[in-house]
Every structure is written in C-alpha cells, then in structure tokens.
Amino acid sequence: MEKPVVLAVRDLRTEFGPAAHPLVAVDGVSFEVREGEILGLVGESGSGKSITLRSILGIVQPRGRVFGQILWKGRDLAALDETRLRAVRGREIAMIFQEPMSSLNPLLTVGLQIEENLLAHTDLDARARKARAVELLDMVGIPAARSRLGDYPHEFSGGMRQRVMIAIALASNPRLLLADEPTTALDVTIQDQILRLIQSLAEELGMAMILVTHDMAVVAETCDRVAVMYGGRLCETGETAAVIGDARHPYTLGLLRSIPRDVPPRTPLYSIPGAPPALSAMPAGCAFTARCPVAGSDCRDARPPLAALSGGRHVACHRLPEAAAFFSAREAAR
C-alpha cells in the first residue's frame, strides 16, 4: 500500500530579477514526497535543484518570487506569511546545508546551538533541553557526546560538523528533512558514513526527505525515487532503480553514459556536447534542445510536458523513441 503524500509541489516557479524580464530558476516543477520516502533531486549546477529546495521553505524571498503551490499537510506554504511560515520552517520541515562550517555559528558552542533550536520549537525546560541535546549528538554518532556540548564548531572535523548540523535539524522532530548537497564537501569515506546515518535516521524516525545532489551514484545508494532536473525543469522522474537502469530522457541517458561504468578502460566516454544554458537564454521549448543528439525543430519551440509512462515514471521529451534508438545504436556499436 502506498504511504500518504506529505508534500505536494504543484507548478512551482521561482524567478529573480526584474519582473519584466525575469530570470526563471525553477520553471513549472511538480512532484510529491510520501511519508518516510527519500526523494533525490539531481542535476548540474544551475539546474535549479537548490532553489527548488529553498523555495519550499520560503528562504529565497525577498529577492526571489515564488509562484505555484507547495502543499504541506493541506496548507499552501507558498501563500503563508513570514510569521506563519516560521512555525513550519525548522519545526515541521528542517534543512541541512552543504557547507557545515558556514552554517554553524562559530562563536557559539554546539550545545547552545542545539538547545537554541529546542527552545524555539519544543517546550522542554533547561535541564531537559540539555539532556535532549546529549541524546541528539549521541544519535548522530558523535563520540563522548556529553563532553562535546561545550565545544565550538572549529573543534570538530568536517564530517562531525555535518553530524552536528543533522542533530540541530532533528531537534524539533521534523516530518520532512531537506538536505542540500549534505556530503559534497566531504571525503568519500565520510560521505558514506553521513549518507548511511541519514538513511537509518529517516527510517527510524519515519521522516521523509528530499536529497539534493549532483551525483547519480549518491542517488543510487540512498534514494527511493529520483527527479532529474535540467535548466530549472524536471525532465525525468521515477523509482531510482528504474530511472538508473532504464533511463528514457536523452539528458539522463547521456548523463549516465558519461560516468565510466562497465566500459573498457581508456575508451572515449560519451560526452554531452556544449554546456548548460544560461538562465537568461532559455529556449521556449525543451531546455536541453541545444545539447540533445535527437532534437528537432519542434523541440526548440514547444515545451514537452512531463508525461506519465507505465510504472509511475514521468518523462518530458518529444522524441522518446528516437532517444532510445540513438543510445541503443551507440551501445550496439561498441
């Protein structure tokens, strides 16, 4: 049986700059997150994945303008004012960021930073807050948690700081955790520890999560479902195994083939020509047109809708059969 949907994003559009010529960072993005599910939002830099995440919590304002609906427990977050949003932000929906050093306050002890969050979002008294802070640090795997409450962020390593960030985020018992490239700044063995931690915490606490990353392998290891973004739009969504094993969109196909995997060493890799389009030069049609091996003139002018395929998959492409033929012909040629 499918779990209930906790977050539904409908036609999200986030734009910056002058209203007459806006730079549209997120354009018509719709997705759902179910209870206890980990959704991966994957894309290159500038694809709008982080802005999507930030739009959910309303932290792109006042410079950014958010349109569309962000339905959380029957309320539309996009329509809430700042005061009411604050009751949700950090309490029901928490967020962790890429750079743990710049998201912690260097002048406050980590104990104080955790307790600050407990004070804001729970009604525990001082003694209970301290006990809870120890419990949280212990839960995220910081050794000798009690003795480290009085330490400052610079006394922790990068991986340990990210654990502290997670402890702070979990302080309010959120139902949804937004993770913006939480392991990108970390080494591979530490990344592995943090991902496994996030995964087991999400499972134990029954918490839903959106994990933003640029790394398909991180998605493969961690996420239940994946949404691939390109140029501010969704181009493909579905179960992780299905999307990675049987990608349909030419961008996803190309991206997966540009990662060396099951190919003879030192053979040329598939490379997607060109570079991602600038926000100021988005085509009217499909954002991938200029780099797509199977694009036609219709792709440039008409935007492909995110259409449903079987098995809960969605793909936004006018030329699915051509894309499949192109990449299977390439495969056969090897």
Partner: protein, 331 residues
C-alpha cells in the same frame, strides 16, 4: 613499456612548519609540524597514466606539487630520467620545468583574468623560447585547435569561457611547452559531470597522440579507474598500495584501499549497503600515528601495526604496505 622509469621518487618527505601562535611562543611549546608526505616511493613509467587517489589531506596534491617543482621536499629525492631534480637551479631548473607541466583544479583562479588566451599562451611560448616571430602566432592557433577551442577564442578573456573551456585553456597552456609529463591535479573535479567526460576524453586522446606521461591526481575513483594504467592509493602521506588499475580496483589488498573503494557510492541500487564501509576519520597530519598510518581505523590491525611502519612489498598484482597482506581474508 620500456624499463627505465621517467620519474623516480625516493623516500620523499614534505613537512610544513606552522607559524607559532603567541600563546605557544610564551609557553615555549614547539612549533607544529604538518607531515604532508612521509617517505613516498614511486616510479612513473614513460607514456603511462598513473592515477593517484586518496582523501583530502592525504598529501596527493603536495606530491603533485613537489613533482612539478612548486614545493621543495624536506627530504628524499625526485629523479627525472635518472637525474635528481630537487636542487636544480637556473637554466637546468627551467629546462625541467618546461618538461613537467602542471594543470590545476580551479579553472576560475588558475588563469589570469586580465590576459587574453593569446597573451597567456604567447607568454608561455616566448618565456621558454619555444618559437619566435610569426611562428608564435601560428603555434597559438595550433594549440587552440588541438584542445578544440572555437576559432576566435584567442582574443577572448577567461571570463568569457565556461568551466570546461577554461580547463581546455589550461591544457593548451601546459602543452605550449611541449612537455614530457603532465601533472593533472583534480583537473575535472570542479566541472559538471556532463562536461567532465569532454575534458577527460580530450586528455586521453592528447596523451595517445603526443605520447605524454600523465599523473592523474583525483578523488573520483571511477574516473581514475577509467583513465589510469596504474593507480597509487595514498593515506596520510604514504603510498599504501600501488598496482595496475584493473586488478587493484577489482581486488584491492590493503584494508584502506578496500574501505575506500567500498565507500564510493555505486551506481547499482541493488548493491546498497546499510552500514558504512569504514568508521572513523583521517588522523591529523599534525600528529601522524606511529607504526602503520592506518592502524587506528583498520579492522585487521594487530600489535605489530602499532609499532612498525610496513614497507611496500609485492601483494596481489602490485605492491601493498600491510603487515598482513597475505593473511587478509580474500587475499
């Protein structure tokens, strides 16, 4: 492959002394010393790509910089075609510098923003006297063509290019001196995945056509496996395992190589793990543990590992520095 190595690195060590803080000076505490490299032994064969992998702080960039002559090692020797290059000065230093070229990680800071591509390339060509007169201009066009930059790129400034194109400019600048050996320090790490493949393909192609030796320093294991003939795994400033790329990735011997490879996320969702591959973190290079550098995190460590630093010796298809190389499960 010919038998004489192009580069031989012998017992190379690099220590950086940190400036003493006022409090430390008053308390007469000794200066802190960062041991970035601790006795690296390495041969690089002509024409091969040697991958160097490890976590941040393991010394892989310091090794690259020592080889390129940007850092002077504290102890040990670097032999290039059999001759020591550590203390070279004057014309002989410049001759070596020409033949070993480094390419840097960050395409946004490694190019002078006030010089056009032509200025940057001409400077390299004329300083080393590679061409003169009209031949300089022709060489610039040739180089841009070699790295597939569009026509008209020569008179543009770095900010007019994308990250991938800037890395091509970096490659062109290195090739301007017709080097024998390229040192690529995280050449593609700052680029998006879809662009990485373009630069990696170009590097492999140029290497084959020009017969270059490449030191490919990177943390992306999948990419290193793809481009390298041989791979060296570094931990805390020492090589713990080195060998041919295929066997090393398929059957790593050293417990650290095993953990590192297991920790790298797999693209196969069926191979998911629930437990992290390895606990703990890299010890600080300010305080390198005695014995085997890895013993604090190693699941197989014994008494001897705490006392004696293991030497590199034949294991698997290459060399590994582990006291229990033969006794480990699956070895």
């Amino acid at each position: 492959m010919s038998l004489a190595p192009l580069l031989s690195i012998r017992d190379l060590s690099m220590r950086f002394t940190k400036p003493r803080s006022l409090a430390d000076a008053v308390a007469r505490r000794p200066r802190k010393v960062v041991s970035a490299l601790n006795g690296v032994e390495l041969d690089v064969m002509p024409g091969e790509t040697l991958g160097i992998v490890g976590e941040s702080g393991c010394g892989k960039s310091t090794l690259a910089r020592c080889i390129a002559g940007l850092n002077r090692p504290t102890a040990g020797d670097i032999l290039f075609e059999g001759e020591s290059v550590v203390g070279l000065k004057g014309a002989r230093r410049r001759a070596y510098n020409r033949r070993v070229q480094m390419m840097f990680q960050d395409p946004y800071t490694s190019l002078n923003p006030r010089m056009t591509v032509r200025d940057a390339l001409e400077e390299a060509i004329t300083v080393h006297g590679m061409r003169s007169g009209a031949a300089v201009g022709r060489r610039v066009e040739e180089l841009l063509d070699l790295v597939r930059l569009p026509e008209g790129a020569a008179d543009k400034y770095p900010h007019e290019f994308s990250g991938g194109q800037r890395q091509r400019i970096g490659i062109a600048r290195a090739l301007a001196l017709e080097p024998t050996c390229l040192v690529a320090d995280e050449l593609v790490s700052a680029l998006d995945v879809s662009v990485q493949a373009q630069v990696v393909n170009l590097l492999m192609e140029l290497q084959d056509t020009l017969g270059l030796t490449v030191l490919f320093v990177a943390h992306d294991l999948r990419l290193v496996r793809h481009v390298s003939h041989r791979v060296a795994v570094i931990y805390l400033g020492a090589i713990v395992e080195i060998g041919p790329s295929g066997p090393l990735f398929a059957n790593p011997v050293h417990p650290y190589s095993r953990a590192l490879l297991a920790a790298a996320p797999s693209l196969d969702p069926a191979k998911r793990r629930r437990k992290p591959a390895i606990a703990g973190e890299l010890p600080s290079p300010l305080d390198v543990p005695p014995g085997c550098p890895f013993h604090l995190r190693c699941p197989h460590a014994g008494e001897i590992c705490r006392r004696e630093k293991p030497a590199l010796r034949p294991a698997g298809a290459g060399l590994a520095a582990c006291h229990f190389a033969e006794a480990l499960p699956g070895a």
